[in-house]
Symmetry: C2
């Protein structure tokens, strides 16, 4: 099942019906998963042009630069795309905590089998 998006050397993001791709953000130094967000074509272009991560907020229906209010921006060191080009990886240097809760990563809770969540120590975050 050859798919042109798998093998091309051209960046051809496959946006969903809302015009978005997923953006996975990891720390360039620790490789920790920091956050997941969404990008539209404008967010990708602004990120490439400024070197600072921009996203599309689905809840607010607006483009935003991460850190524009918190100060905790994300300097983008490298951007990668997955095989079918519907997800991006941003490898970043964060200026501060990536999560709006003040934590380093948004993934601070482990899902247990009984439907509860266990809060992780910061050092245990992926």
């Amino acid at each position: 099942m050859a798919d042109a998006r798998d093998i091309t050397d051209r960046f051809l993001p496959r946006f969903d019906a809302a015009g978005l791709v997923s953006a996975i953000v990891i720390d360039a130094d620790t490789h920790a998963l920091l956050m997941v967000a969404h990008m539209n074509a404008d967010a990708i272009r602004l990120t490439q042009n400024t070197g600072q991560a921009h996203f599309w907020s689905r809840s607010r229906g607006a483009l935003w630069r991460k850190g524009e209010t918190s100060g905790n921006g994300l300097e983008v060191i490298e951007m990668r795309v997955d095989c079918d080009q519907d997800a991006l990886l941003l490898i970043v240097r964060p200026a501060g905590p990536a999560c709006h809760t003040g934590r380093r990563s948004c993934f601070y809770r482990r899902v247990e089998c009984d439907g509860s969540l266990a809060f992780l120590e910061d050092d245990a975050q992926a």
Copy 2:
């Protein structure tokens, strides 16, 4: 802006209009980002019950167990959820290459500023 999903110790996934959350899959040993997929409530339940990663295929409109045709299943060591509970992190031991192209990771190309993609050596993958 307190949000119950940020602080609760209950697993209350926030599914989108299509009934899906994003699932970020990393290797338990190398911490490499392997793939990104989507899960609905059934995929989450089956993953928890079997210990093998199940996803919802948006293109095929079907539930699938990763590896059911390729043999390259993903043993789930741990599941985490993000602050607003619309994204999951699966920490896995893969039985083989995670990408359908035969590569370890789906993120094998770097996006360059000129709109081209550079293919990465396997060891350079995040």
